[in-house]
C-alpha cells in the first residue's frame, strides 16, 4: 500500500482554492511533499478554465450583484459554477506514480473510475463518460480536468451534491439564453446531483469517506490525514494575492477566441429540431450545443451523448457532417423521422445563421 497525504481543506474563497492547486502542485513537483489528495469546499464562485476568457464565459454583472466570486483555474476545460452544494477533489502526484497510467486517456479513465466506485458506496450508479466526465444516466455529476508542472500532475474534479442549477444557468454564458422555460428546464436535465439521485443530501464526511474508498480500491492507496507544511502555508498566502489579482483573473490571456450564440429551428419529418450552439469562430470550434425539439430519441440519452460528441469539435460544415454521421453509425440511435443527415443539417444551419443572439 502506498501512503498519500490527505488534506481536507475547510471552506475557502475561490482565489484561495485556485492558489492552493498551484501551491500543492508546485511543492509536489519539487519533491517537498508526498503524493496528496485534497478535498475542497467552496463559497459561490464561477471558475473559468486556464485558457478561457472571463468576458466570454461568465455573466459578470450577475456575479457581482450576487456576490459570486470569479476566478481562473490552472487546469483546462470549461467554465463551472461551484458553491456550498458542491465539493472538489484533487490528486497531486508524481507522473511516475505506480498504478496511475501516464497515458492521459487512460489516466482520466482510471481516476474517474475510482470516483465512480466511490460513488457506488453511496448507492449511486455512476459511469465514466470519455473523455473526462462522470455521469449518472447521461447526466453529469462530476467534471474533471488537469494540468502538469515539471514531473508532477494535478488531476481534479467537481462533485455536485445539492447543486443550485438555477444559479449556474444565470452566472455562466450557456447556450440557452433566449430559450423558453420548457427548454431551459430540459437543459437542467443535463446535470444531476447526489440529492436528486438519493433523495437526500449525504453528510460531507460520508461522501469523502466513500471517495477515499474508491481511490484505495483502484490504486491501493492508504491515506494519511495531514496538513500543509509551513512552506506551503507561506506560499499559499503569497499565491492567494496573485490569484486575487485582476491580471490573473481577467488579464494576460493571449489566446485569440470568440463566442457567439446561434439558434435555429429545423423541420425534420420526425419533428422540429431546435439547435442552440455556442460558437468560437476564431478557433473554428463548436464550444457547446443544446439540442431539443419535439422528436423522440431512443435511447433517451442519445441526444446528450451527441452534444458531448460535438463539444469542442470543428464547426466546419464537412467536419460537423462527418462527426454526426460517425456518431449515428457507431451508436444504435433511433429517432423516428430524424436521420443523421437531418441532425447534421440542423446543426450546420444553426452554425450558419447570420444573427447572433449575444
Amino acid at each position: 500500500m502506498k501512503n498519500w497525504r490527505l488534506i481536507d481543506s475547510k471552506v475557502l474563497s475561490a482565489a484561495e482554492n485556485m492558489a492552493l492547486d498551484r501551491v500543492l502542485l508546485d511543492s509536489r513537483s519539487r519533491g517537498l511533499v508526498p503524493d496528496t489528495l485534497l478535498f475542497l469546499e467552496f463559497t459561490p464562485c464561477a471558475l473559468v478554465g486556464y485558457h478561457q476568457s472571463v468576458e466570454l464565459e461568465v455573466e459578470d454583472g450577475y456575479c457581482r450583484e450576487h456576490g459570486i466570486e470569479i476566478n481562473r483555474r490552472i487546469s483546462g476545460g470549461g467554465a463551472i459554477y461551484m458553491d456550498e452544494g458542491t465539493m472538489g477533489w484533487a490528486l497531486f502526484a508524481d507522473k511516475n506514480t505506480s498504478g496511475i497510467p501516464r497515458d492521459l486517456d487512460e489516466m482520466y479513465a482510471s481516476i474517474c473510475n475510482s470516483v465512480v466506485i466511490g460513488l457506488s458506496k453511496l448507492g449511486v450508479e455512476a459511469k465514466f463518460r470519455p473523455k473526462n466526465d462522470i455521469e449518472v444516466n447521461g447526466r453529469k455529476i462530476s467534471g474533471t480536468g488537469g494540468t502538469e508542472h515539471a514531473s508532477s500532475f494535478l488531476f481534479h474534479g467537481s462533485l455536485l451534491i445539492d447543486f443550485n442549477v438555477d444559479t449556474m444557468v444565470r452566472c455562466l454564458k450557456l447556450p440557452i439564453k433566449k430559450l423558453d422555460d420548457k427548454q431551459v428546464q430540459s437543459f437542467r436535465q443535463r446535470v444531476t446531483s447526489l440529492r436528486e439521485i438519493l433523495g437526500y443530501v449525504p453528510e460531507m464526511r460520508s461522501i469523502k469517506k466513500a471517495l477515499l474508498e474508491g481511490f484505495t480500491e483502484v490504486f491501493g492507496i492508504t491515506f494519511v490525514p495531514g496538513d500543509m507544511t509551513d512552506g506551503e502555508e507561506e506560499m499559499l498566502r503569497k499565491e492567494t494575492r496573485v490569484f486575487s489579482s485582476e491580471e490573473w483573473i481577467r488579464g494576460g490571456r493571449r489566446v485569440p477566441q470568440s463566442s457567439e450564440l446561434k439558434i435555429n429551428d429545423y423541420k425534420a419529418p420526425g419533428g422540429l429540431i431546435r439547435v442552440s450552439v455556442l460558437l468560437d469562430r476564431t478557433r473554428k470550434r463548436i464550444k457547446s450545443t443544446f439540442i431539443t425539439g419535439d422528436f423522440f430519441a431512443y435511447p433517451e440519452r442519445s441526444i446528450l451523448d451527441l452534444e458531448a460528441c460535438l463539444r469542442n469539435s470543428s464547426c466546419l460544415e464537412q467536419d460537423v457532417a462527418a462527426n454526426v454521421n460517425r456518431y449515428f453509425s457507431e451508436n444504435d440511435i433511433r429517432i423516428p423521422g430524424v436521420d443523421a443527415r437531418d441532425m447534421s443539417t440542423a446543426v450546420c444551419q444553426a452554425i450558419s445563421v447570420s444573427r447572433s443572439m449575444m
Binding site: Y50, S75, R102, N132, V255, P256, R285
Partner: protein
C-alpha cells in the same frame, strides 16, 4: 496511430520532450513532432510567450490545452523568441495537421550553439519514440 506511420524527419534535431529543432545560423525554428502532437491529441488552445522574451533551456515558453488538460511547452534551447507562428495562434489545430511545416511554434535567436550537440538525430529519436510507444502498450 502505429509506430510505422509516425513521421520522423531527418532534416531536424529532436529533444526528449518531443520538440523538433531546425537550426538556421544563429536562430532555430521549434515545433512539436508528429509523435508529440499525437500524444497531446486535438489541440484546443495554444498560448506562446511574447516575442522578445528570453527563455533558458527547460523554461516553459507556452501552454497547450487538449481534452481539459493544460500542458507546458518546455523550451529545448536557450535564447530569445524572435517570432511566434501567427498561423498556430489563430488555428492551434495546425500543430496537429502539419507539425513539421505550417504548424511550427516559435523562432528563437540562439544564445549558444553548444546546446545543439545534445539533441537526437532522426534515427535516435525514432528509437526514443518506439521505446515510448512500447511503454504505453
Amino acid at each position: 496511430m502505429q509506430y510505422a506511420e509516425m513521421k520522423i524527419r531527418e532534416d531536424v534535431k529532436y529533444d526528449r520532450n518531443n520538440f523538433w529543432i531546425r537550426p538556421d545560423g544563429a536562430s532555430a525554428l521549434i515545433g512539436l513532432t508528429e509523435y508529440g502532437q499525437w500524444v497531446i491529441g486535438d489541440i484546443l488552445y495554444l498560448e506562446l510567450d511574447p516575442e522578445g522574451k528570453a527563455e533558458a533551456k527547460g523554461d516553459r515558453f507556452g501552454s497547450i490545452e487538449s481534452g481539459k488538460w493544460v500542458g507546458s511547452l518546455i523550451s529545448p534551447v536557450s535564447g530569445r523568441i524572435l517570432q511566434r507562428n501567427p498561423v498556430v495562434l489563430e488555428n492551434p489545430n495546425k500543430v496537429n495537421s502539419s507539425p513539421y511545416d505550417e504548424g511550427w511554434l516559435i523562432k528563437v535567436e540562439l544564445e549558444t550553439n553548444d546546446e545543439l550537440g545534445t539533441f537526437l538525430d532522426g534515427e535516435e529519436y525514432r528509437s526514443f519514440v518506439k521505446e515510448q510507444m512500447d511503454r504505453e502498450l
